[in-house]
């Protein structure tokens, strides 16, 4: 096959491209330039958006003896990922830009262009196993990325190749060193690639300005503090609330809800964070009737036993064990063992069994 290897400049995508070459494919490397004005050198451990990363990718392609190009997708990335990220935060959701980038950039804009140019598939260094249309977790549980791929549609997966799913990250690094790829010991990238210093709150404040509002205690209904932008909070956040007085029970309080229209941030006790059910916009859910499965609601979270069912245009998920630290805007990915069944974007969370939080409108019906 003629395949296009997306090469970030990191070790995973370099080894993935190398394996595609070994598999006998006609491989062309492409580095996606996603930043409008890329820094010339890495300042942190980001590892995908600098000129230095583009050079690392080019050097790896040279070692593999494959053609290499840089595709400028900065405009598309800004529109489909960054703007959407800001809009989502503005609306009180907590988006996952990596999921979005896979849905809209890597397996949409890039894949479409690749197919138009006569390629058959896009190869990436994601840690996940794909055979036929079946997506499974990586054998390396720490590095598994099936969650950020879990909302890809079958027609997208049909043109994807993930050569690294059967290999641990440690083995990938060792293989890179064996192959003479200089990126073998390059640090892992993490966090959000377009927020250089990792300070999402400050980054959002620079874009959105100051929008002050009250911080309200869910238990007492009292205003317990003020903030200058609800967008700087995420559900489940504990640090940085700067509340004037302690909770009546003296226990820490967490962000339970963000109401962007009134700029109200609601806080409450940890128990109120428990999510027992959720409603998602299904991106991939081909099943009728309830499906017993496990559900994962954030990138490095644990999957918990759950039951999922399509109801109208919604996907209702009941969690057998409560989860914390998720929020509308995140993806929910549903598994059968290590196999991805489907997933969607969380529209609202079901209130805890205690009913203590005003979190989202309505509870999912079963």
């Amino acid at each position: 096959m003629r395949v296009l290897a997306a090469m970030s400049g990191g070790v995973d995508s370099a080894v993935a491209a190398a394996r595609a070459v070994d598999a006998g494919h006609d491989v062309t490397g492409v580095h996606l330039a996603l930043a409008k004005s890329p820094e010339s050198h890495r300042t942190g451990a980001r590892g995908c958006c600098t000129v230095e990363d583009a050079r690392d990718a080019r050097r790896a392609a040279d070692v593999l003896g494959i053609p290499f190009y840089v595709w400028d997708l900065a405009d598309r990335f800004e529109q489909d990922v960054i703007d959407e990220f800001v809009t989502a935060y503005e609306a009180g959701r907590t988006p996952n830009p990596c999921v979005r980038c896979n849905e809209r950039i890597k397996f949409a804009a890039v894949l479409d262009k690749a197919l138009a140019l006569g390629f058959d598939a896009v190869v990436t260094g994601h840690h996940a196993q794909l055979s036929g249309a079946v997506l499974r977790r990586s054998v390396d549980p720490d590095k598994d990325q099936s969650y950020v791929l879990g909302t890809l549609r079958p027609e997208q997966l049909a043109h994807a190749i993930f050569p690294l799913g059967d290999t641990t990250k440690t083995e990938v690094r060792a293989e890179a060193a064996r192959r003479g790829l200089a990126v073998a010991d390059k640090p892992d990238s993490h966090d959000i690639c377009f927020i250089a210093d990792g300070d999402t709150g400050r980054w959002l404040r620079e874009r959105l300005g100051s929008r002050p509002g009250p911080v309200v205690d869910a238990v007492t209904g009292e205003t317990v503090g003020e903030h200058d932008g609800a967008f700087a909070f995420t559900i489940g956040q504990r640090r940085g609330l700067r509340l004037g007085r302690p909770a009546p029970d003296g226990k820490p309080r967490y962000v339970l809800d963000i109401a962007p229209v009134t700029a109200t941030v609601t806080v409450g006790p940890a128990e109120a964070l428990d999510v027992h059910s959720l409603v998602a916009d299904p991106v991939v859910w081909p099943y009728e009737g309830p499906v017993v499965c496990t559900a994962q609601v954030r990138a490095h979270g644990r999957a918990v036993p759950a039951t999922a069912q399509a109801v109208g245009d919604e996907l209702h998920v009941r969690l057998d064990e409560p989860v914390r630290g998720t929020a509308p805007g995140q993806a929910v990915v549903l598994y059968d063992g290590d196999r991805v069944l489907g997933g969607g974007h969380i529209r609202r969370l079901g209130a805890g069994e205690s009913g203590s939080g005003p979190r989202g409108a309505g509870r999912p019906g079963f």
């Binding site: 400028d72 140019l117 006569g118």
Partner: protein
């Protein structure tokens, strides 16, 4: 492999390789007084005389450098510093809007760090700088102009500007005039003496010499401040031990390129015209950029816009067929940007992005054109399908 990128660099001529390797085997610093030094010095000076003869300059006007970029920087900064030191009012720098980045980035640096006021001289739709445009720009305040620089022939579209007339305009006001003749030398007649220019940039590897070698021709008596300080080997404006093999190979290449030019230019122009005609026959809505064929256009350059295509898609697809050409401009990250040359010529951004430069040279043959013509139609078709995804087809009115 079909190499249609001779304007980027062209293979070394055999006589240059011979001169280069012969000199590489000899020890000797041309600045030393002993016999080895004298031998090296003789090679350097004979080469200087040969290069001067090829370019109709005096040997003493040749300042060897490490390439076109260094020569451009020396001319721009050296003239700015020297002329401003003589008269502090001289802070305006007039350069054409279609200069190579070695000129543009040098003048932008002067603006940022040295208080220069940069004015980009507009070009016409073919990429030519008109003398009346220069005259008007100078006339706004002649005493404040530090220097003028206009390239002899553009590296992307191949259009030639009337250098002698432009130099005469500058001289009418007593202003120093520099020209970047990197693409012109060896392709069209270049006489430093007749041009009237005060300084002229030439590069070795564009005419079959080695990469990393160039020269700035500097008129005698011209005040020029040095960029680098040291031994002052080249007229006290350029320091550093001379690259004797590079100098020898440069002179050998320039001598051959200039002497073969009348015949070779005719051959290349015919090949180029054939390429353009056959590409247009295959892709009728392609648009040819630059000056019409003739003395106003470099013989080896064909620059075409393919509406609805992204240049980088065309490059990728042609590369996959073994055909090597160029979009003309790329940033340091390798991202294709719309060419500043085409934008200055009034081409819209979508068309500027969908343009390719095919450049022919000494080793080009009819078979190269045949190879391109065989694949251009399907390649453009595919690139158009990819371009349609990004909405390009809707924006490209030609």
């Amino acid at each position: 492999m079909t190499y249609l990128d001779h304007a980027a660099t062209t293979p070394m001529r055999p006589e240059a390789v011979a001169a280069y390797t012969a000199a590489l085997a000899e020890a000797g610093n041309a600045s030393s007084l002993h016999a080895s030094g004298r031998r090296a010095r003789r090679v350097v000076e004979e080469s200087r005389e040969a290069l001067a003869a090829a370019l109709r300059a005096r040997p003493s006007e040749v300042v060897f450098t490490a390439g076109g970029t260094e020569s451009d920087n020396l001319a721009i900064k050296g003239l700015y510093w020297a002329r401003r030191a003589a008269a502090p009012r001289r802070h305006r720098v007039l350069v054409s809007a279609i200069e190579h980045r070695a000129i543009l980035d040098a003048v932008f640096w002067l603006a940022e760090a040295q208080d220069a006021q940069v004015e980009l001289l507009p070009v016409d739709a073919t990429g030519m700088v008109h003398p009346d445009v220069l005259a008007a720009a100078i006339a706004r305040d002649p005493d404040s102009v530090a220097l003028v620089s206009v390239m002899w022939a553009n590296n992307e579209v191949g259009t030639v500007s009337p250098i002698a007339e432009l130099a005469a305009v500058a001289h009418g006001y007593g202003i120093a005039f520099h020209t970047d003749a990197v693409q012109a030398v060896g392709s069209i007649p270049v006489s430093f003496e007749d041009s009237g220019a005060d300084a002229l940039t030439v590069s070795a590897h564009k005419l079959g010499g080695p990469i990393g070698m160039g020269a700035l021709l500097v008129r005698r008596g011209l005040a020029l401040a040095p960029l680098t300080h040291g031994g002052g080997q080249e007229r006290d404006v350029r320091s550093g031990t001379l690259d004797t093999p590079g100098v020898a190979a440069f002179a050998a290449a320039a001598t051959s390129a200039v002497s073969e030019r009348p015949v070779e230019a005719e051959r290349l122009a015919a090949l180029r015209d054939d390429l353009v005609a056959r590409v247009l026959a295959a892709v009728p809505d392609a648009v040819v950029n630059g000056a019409p064929p003739g003395p106003g256009l470099l013989p080896g350059i064909a620059h075409l816009t393919f509406p609805g295509c992204e240049g980088d898609s065309l490059l990728l697809l042609l590369d996959a067929h073994g055909i090597e050409c160029s979009t003309g401009s790329a940033c340091s990250a390798g991202v294709a940007r719309p060419s500043h040359v085409l934008l200055a010529m009034g081409v819209d951004e979508a068309c500027a992005r969908g343009s390719l430069r095919f450049s022919l040279g000494r080793t080009s043959e009819r078979a190269d054109v045949d190879a391109l013509v065989r694949v251009i139609m399907p390649v453009v078709g595919r690139a158009r399908r990819a371009g349609a995804l990004s909405g390009l087809s809707g924006r490209s009115g030609g």
